[in-house]
């Protein structure tokens, strides 16, 4: 058949006008045959290259071609209070996905206009996603308004790259309630993607950025599902290919008691400061307030740059969680710790007394008592109750800085408590070593005098103070404060072996602050023995204050209290920045403690009522 040489069979006969010669062009016909072979080899090699050498490559491309994946966004877990009441919920909203596979550049402008998106922002967003696979659509607008939804519906034909998906948006309490501890979510930023914490996320992911949302992001976040549909070349969906349901995030049950939280928030009114309430027996935080607050809903999703600047430029720094980040001198609220240190080291005993004449001189310098007239002769109980500075100057002077530091640190000051919130501050507990390390200077005994009344280099956060005071109330056992109910058995963060008698002596003094005509009388609750301590902490030395009378230089007001005195169940710390006197902070503590005890009483009621019903 092929390439058969021509066999001369018959002699060619002349035929009219058509020339007859069978050998005509035999060589050229053979050339055509060889050319045909070459052509077919060329063609087969083309198929060899595609089908045999690169089968997998093209198979993959064919797969991508026909399958369009639409994400099913996993709803984040809800955040509940200790009784299961919803603090943070989700609400259904619609987001616009932009499919980039068949995206036409000229469609971007009208789409941006129709959806009220800034065109440059949209273009920048697309650039950010340029490294992501093309078949992954990206969210370009959240929380579509009815008008925007209508725009999408009416332009489906014109702009087939638009797709609407249902999304669960975070719904935070609008008043800024618990805003700092809850935090907020947002789209992971480019800088964050480069950091270790966020490196496993993809651009466009909504992740926790602040507070518990960030701390417990893995619990709350869930896993997005994916609906993969087979599409034709026009993007029309032909059939469902596979469906991976989204795994919703787990709910997060907090130790926060919404009732107490609300009471604390309301009690703060519009003042700046913080409130922390915790259970000293296990460290469960019952309420945590920081003011001024912000509305997390403004962050949920994609915050506008103008909103962001407004919040960041606020001089009162609403984004600061004062409960864990404000590092301030504790003032007189430090005195119970001083008292415990004095008693435990044997430096003082219950009968140790000092005569207060409104001040005293140590190391050539005169230190005033807040009571200009002086307290007269005071011993431990009255010294705490009246917050006599001179008494504690003497205690401090006798103890020395390193003994003070030992007990302060023993109660958890000077380092973060380990609360389950990001970016907790640690405060400072000065010591001779601390000074050497940080200033390469030796500690001067005169500096101890200020520290003895909670001033000087000593700083604490409200949460640290609550935990430390709770440590005294619980007899030396300091619980790690936390916001999420722990499954494991309670283990104290630190445990100090202290004499129970000494603890009772300090607590008695603190009880006298509230109930014995002391400085914290405004924290009194009839029928319940509340123990507490006021604090009025200077921001700067008195000399400096004389020259400056600015608002922000006013003293900070502290109050720390717990109840019931015999078996403390709740410790509350209230801080008013520039509140001038600690007794102004006392009513907040009282309100929160009262709310706690009232609620407890109410909770115990049903049983009584039940028995009454049965007995009747």
């Amino acid at each position: 058949m092929a390439l058969v040489p021509i066999q001369p069979e018959t002699t060619p006969a002349p035929h009219g006008r058509f020339r007859e010669d069978k050998h005509f062009a035999a060589g050229k016909v053979a050339v055509f045959q060889y050319a045909t072979v070459a052509v077919f080899l060329f063609l087969v090699s083309g198929f060899w290259e595609l089908q045999v050498q690169n089968e997998d490559l093209y198979n993959e491309r064919a797969e991508k071609n026909r399958i369009k994946s639409v994400p099913i966004l996993a709803p984040r877990g809800k955040i509940l209070d200790r009784d299961g009441r919803v603090i943070v919920d989700n609400k259904s909203s619609f987001s616009l996905l932009l499919s980039r596979e068949n995206l036409k550049e000229e469609h971007l402008k009208p789409i941006a206009e129709g959806l009220n998106i800034d065109y440059d922002e949209l273009a920048a967003r697309l650039r950010r996603f340029r490294n992501r696979p093309k078949y992954e659509p990206i969210v370009i607008k959240e929380a579509l308004t009815p008008a925007e939804l209508a725009f999408v519906e009416s332009h489906r034909e014109a702009f087939p790259e638009m797709e609407i998906i249902e999304e669960q948006r975070r719904l935070y309490p609008t008043s800024g309630l618990a805003a700092h501890l809850i935090g907020y979510v947002g789209e992971v930023s480019e800088t964050e993607l480069n950091s270790l914490e966020f490196t496993r996320f993809d651009p466009g992911d909504i992740v926790g950025k602040f507070g518990l949302e960030r701390q417990y992001n893995d619990t709350l976040m869930g896993v997005d599902g994916q609906r993969r549909v087979i599409v034709d070349s026009r993007g029309n969906q032909r059939q469902l290919f596979s469906m991976k349901e989204a795994i919703p995030g787990k709910n997060l049950q907090l130790t926060i008691d919404l009732d107490l939280q609300v009471v604390a928030e309301l009690a703060m009114e519009n003042r700046r400061g913080a409130v922390v309430a915790l259970d000293p027996r296990n460290g469960e935080i019952l309420a945590m307030v920081s003011r001024p607050a912000f509305d997390p809903n403004r962050f949920a999703g994609r915050i506008r740059p103008s909103d962001w600047r407004e919040i960041m430029d606020n001089p009162y720094r609403p984004m600061l969680n004062r409960a864990i980040q404000a590092q301030l001198a504790p003032g007189s609220t430090f005195k119970p710790i001083m008292a415990l240190a004095g008693l435990e080291t044997g430096t003082i005993d219950e009968s140790f007394a000092v005569s207060c004449g409104g001040g005293a001189t140590f190391y050539g310098r005169y230190f005033k008592c807040h009571e200009k007239k002086g307290h007269g002769r005071v011993s431990l109980n009255r010294a705490i109750a009246q917050s006599c500075d001179v008494y504690f100057y003497n205690v401090g002077n006798k103890l020395g800085i390193d003994n003070i530091a030992k007990y302060a640190e023993g109660l958890g000051l000077g380092r973060p408590t380990g609360v389950d919130l990001p970016s907790e501050a640690g405060g400072v507990v000065p010591s001779s070593q601390w000074k050497l390390r940080n200033f390469r200077e030796k500690w001067y005994a005169g500096e101890t005098i200020s520290v003895a009344i909670g001033q000087g280099a000593l700083t604490v956060t409200p949460l640290q103070l609550a935990a430390a005071t709770g440590g005294i109330a619980a007899g030396g056992v300091v619980a790690r404060p936390h916001l999420v109910k722990e499954q494991r058995k309670f283990e104290p963060a630190r445990k100090m072996t202290v004499d129970f008698m000494n603890v009772n002596r300090v607590i008695d003094g603190m009880s006298a602050v509230v109930n014995g005509g002391g400085t914290g009388v405004r924290a009194r609750i009839p029928g319940i023995e509340v123990a507490g301590k006021t604090g009025t902490a200077q921001l700067a030395s008195n000399d400096f204050l004389k020259s400056q009378k600015s608002h922000t230089m006013k003293d900070n007001a502290w109050f720390v209290g717990f109840a019931p005195k015999q078996s403390p169940e709740i410790v509350v710390v209230a801080l008013f920045e520039n509140g001038e006197h600690g007794n102004l902070a006392a009513p907040i503590v009282r309100d929160v403690i009262k709310a706690y005890l009232d609620k407890k009483a109410r909770r115990e009621m049903p049983d009584q009522m039940l028995s009454q019903v049965i007995l009747r």
Binding site: M1, A2, F24, N65, I230
Partner: protein, 364 residues
């Protein structure tokens, strides 16, 4: 005069191979269209094949010498039909190629021009008294081929008009050409390319050429067809995805998977093995035609058979190379496989010419 024998003397090998190719084509047309609006294409194609075989038989009835004698009439009719097309033609996809017929069928005269040209070239070349072509011969041949070419180009249908060139080329090659002339003609073509680029080629055609050189440059526009076709072929792998299982075909990523890109769909569903079988069939078909040329009783017969072979080879080469991205996209069908009445019947008529020559191979 050559003696006509009987049906037994038809080239049954050729016929069997032809029908095998048609069978693969119909299967592929069915697979590619059964779920689309062209779902009736496969039985239409069966109809065309049936009609084609009858026409082929009919063509063998007339001695090819007689056909050559009457080639001016065929030529005139073809040119006339092309003019009619230009006037009355139905515009499909932006070009006027078809004359509407009754029953929803369309006639594509440009397909039948090939037959007239095969006969015309065969006659002209075998009437030559010289051993080599002279300039005047080139002028005459060029003019005769150029008129229908120009008309088809105007439709516009560049692919089909280019198919007329191999008919001319094989005739000139066999007839003998001075290398100087060959070089000169080649040079003229090269010089005409920029002219064609600037004055003839439409933007989409330029884009096709550009995307042929750089298919990924504009993957969604001009390069789209080639990329999708290559993906389809590559995804077919060694054994193919199976009939009606090729996703590129079924989801219409391949453009026109039952006509011009049918071999892409075939490659996806039948794999490299299927491709080798199909190309093997084409190769055997070509060799069978060449053998008929070698056994032809006279020069005219050789010219006819070789003209058909050259045309067929050109079609297969341009179409299949396009499918794997080794030629620019030109809308020419794959002979005997692509759905389409005019093209199928025209190829059957050409095979009829080959058989015509074969049946008259025994002189006296």
């Amino acid at each position: 005069m050559a003696v006509y024998r009987s049906v037994r003397d038809l080239d049954w090998t050729l016929l069997a191979i032809t029908l095998a190719i048609c069978g693969l084509g119909i299967l592929q047309i069915y697979s590619a269209t059964y779920a689309t609006k062209w779902a009736d294409a496969w039985w239409k194609q069966m109809l065309y094949v049936t009609v084609g075989m009858m026409v082929m038989w009919a063509v063998t009835k007339f001695d090819y010498h007689w056909l050559m004698e009457h080639v001016p009439i065929f030529y005139a009719v073809c040119v006339l039909l092309l003019i009619v097309t230009a006037v009355l033609g139905a515009t499909v996809f932006g070009s006027k190629r078809w004359i509407p017929l009754v029953g929803g069928f369309h006639l594509q005269p440009s397909e039948f021009v090939k037959l007239a040209l095969v006969l015309f070239v065969a006659r002209y070349m075998s009437e030559l008294k010289t051993e080599r072509l002279e300039m005047v011969d080139f002028a005459k041949l060029g003019a005769m081929v150029g008129v229908p070419m120009a008309l088809v180009m105007k439709q516009p249908d560049l692919g089909t008009s280019l198919c007329y060139l191999p008919i001319l080329a094989i005739g000139v090659f066999l007839g003998g050409i001075r290398w100087q002339y060959a070089a000169a003609i080649g040079l003229v073509f090269v010089l005409m390319l920029p002219l064609a680029w600037n004055f003839y080629l439409k933007d989409y055609q330029k884009a096709r050429l550009v995307s042929f050189l750089d298919p990924e440059g504009d993957p969604l526009q001009s390069g789209y067809q080639v990329i999708q076709s290559r993906i389809a072929v590559g995804a077919g792998g060694m054994w193919g995805k199976g009939v009606t299982r090729g996703t590129q075909t079924q989801l219409q990523f391949i453009p026109v998977p039952h006509t011009d890109f049918i071999f892409s769909a075939f490659g996806e569903e039948h794999g490299f093995v299927g491709v080798v079988v199909a190309l093997g069939l084409y190769f055997v078909l070509l060799m069978q035609i060449v053998q008929n040329a070698q056994m032809a009783p006279d020069r005219a017969g050789i010219y006819i058979c070789m003209g058909v072979a050259a045309l067929l080879l050109f079609h297969v080469f341009v179409n299949v190379a396009m499918v794997v991205g080794r030629m620019p996209v030109t809308g020419i069908p794959l002979p005997l496989m692509s759905a389409g009445g005019s093209s199928t019947i025209s190829f059957f008529m050409m095979l009829g010419l080959v058989n015509n020559v074969r049946l008259r191979r025994f002189v006296n």
